[in-house]
């Protein structure tokens, strides 16, 4: 009986020793690979997964404007938010899924006549931590 308990204890110790470092390495890897925004632009449209005609002033006649964000080093599946503000009023907030290892995503806004004026899009991570602000204007 005593031998059996000793063997079980030894096996448990081996399992703990074998599994513990692996878990620690996993956490370190996640911590070092932080979600990084490498590009954020406002553009007229998205063509072939890339922003077309990036700019900071858009005519209302375009009918639509897009916010393109590109992430490198996505350690794990996560979410980001695009918050669209006209003057200082929040117009819409969109949640986007970001997948490893690299990911690009965009949101668009349909333009109406009342949307003329200064705008900004705030990009935040899943914890609502601010990552970047894009400022642009809608004009005639």
């Amino acid at each position: 009986m005593k031998d059996t308990i000793q063997k079980l204890g030894l096996i448990l110790l081996i399992v703990v020793v074998m599994t513990q470092p692996e878990a620690g390495w996993g956490q370190d890897a996640k911590a070092s690979a932080k979600l990084t925004l490498v590009r954020a632009v406002m553009c007229e449209t998205i063509q072939e997964y890339a922003p077309a005609n990036p700019a900071v002033i858009f005519s209302i006649k375009l009918g639509r404007v897009s916010c393109f964000t590109e992430f490198d080093q996505v350690p794990e599946k996560t979410y980001i938010h695009h918050k669209w503000y006209h003057y200082d009023h929040l117009i819409t907030e969109k949640q986007l899924t970001i997948n490893p290892p690299r990911w690009s995503s965009f949101t668009s806004m349909q333009l109406r006549d009342a949307d003329k004026g200064p705008w900004r899009v705030e990009v935040t991570d899943e914890n609502d931590k601010h990552m970047h602000t894009l400022r642009f204007s809608i004009t005639d």
Binding site: I57, R135, D140
Partner: protein, 475 residues
Amino acid sequence: MDLLIPSPAGLRWQDIVDILLNSYILFRLYVLFRGTNVIRMIMAIAMLWMIERLAVNMGLIVTSWAMQGIIAAAALIVIIVFRNEIAAVLQTRDFKSFFWGFPQRQVQTPVDIIVESVYELARRKLGALIVLPLKKGIETVVQSGIPWQGKLSREMLLSIFWHGTPVHDGATIVQGDRIVEVATILPLSKRNDLPSYFGTRHRAAVGLTEQSDAVVIVVSEERGHVTVFKDESIININDNIELDWVLRKHTGDTSASHGLKRHTVELGIVAMICLASITGIWFSFARGLETLMTLEVPVEFMNRDPKMEIFAASASSVRLQLSGSGTLIKSIRPDHVKVKLNLANAVAGINQVPIARDSITLPPGIQLKKVDPQALEVTLDLPVEKTLPVQATWTGKLADGLIMENVRMVPDSIKVVGGSLTLKDIQTIYTEKIPLESIATSGTASLSLVLQPSSLKLEDGLRNRVDVVYKVKRR
């Protein structure tokens, strides 16, 4: 405020105090100036004023205008012509006599001493000129005497008029039981009908009685005769008894108790006239036809927390509808009415502050009918600093072939000061609008910032200008 309790007769206790106080002031003025020419002129002006009011009520346009002009001129003339008399009254009265000292007639002149002295002077043929001023006073008529202020006595009078003394020329003025002035120069009469034996003393005595109500005694140096002058009367005195009788008759000393009684009755009548006049004036002011008036009054805020500031108020003034007699309503000036709101209990944010009756100060006799608005919305806030990004505001249309690919603000953020609640919702400071039509190439523009709401301020020393650096390219 509820001290204003109306009495059954419709009079408040304040109204009664008002009438009594002003009646007393009028009575005191009479007491101070009685016996002078000023009081007679003031009474004449008062009569003119009554005539003027009557003329106004009867619709006599030219008469009322003329009376107004005469009254204004008369008031000016009184001050100029009687300035010496006014100054004498004000200078000779002590502080107590202005407000309280009950008016006493001058101390009774000791006629016996004068009679005795005058006959001693006559016996010795010492020329003398003695003046006893009565009601009118003689300050404006006589000139350059020497102040004496000595107690009247036979020896003193003899000494003054003794040959060779420096003060024996001129008149000696006796008031009450004192010799107040000696060697005084009196005005000479220009009458041609005076007896030939009258010398300069007699002529001076006549001159003074022509211009005042004083009694003047003259002792002739040559003949030792005694003559008393009063108004237009020239009384040759034959003996002591006659002089005593004449002096007592004219100085009012025929009976001391009778004089005191007459004096009290006179003051009593004057007091009643003053009371009646002021009551009449009060009623004409305060109890006239009710008149309504609307006044726009600025609001004053007080007792706010010193840490907080007023960032907004729904109105800066209120409209008050007031009522009162026409005279009082017409006399109201904007600075007579005040609206003071107490912000002692106000908190940060929007406060509804009612405009209560005790917040409004009105002149006496004016009633409040209506307040509009009845409450103000006052926004108080704690001033804080916040650094905010600056964003350009574009307007118009960019040329079709161009794309504005980048805009940079210099500086890109700015520190503003404003209420904490206001700044909580403000994330960006925008510039004035920039027209796009004129843009063809990259460049820089200098713009001013739009601070909305207007309570926002730039940090001290900051210039309200930023530069916008823009970059355009062809499509």
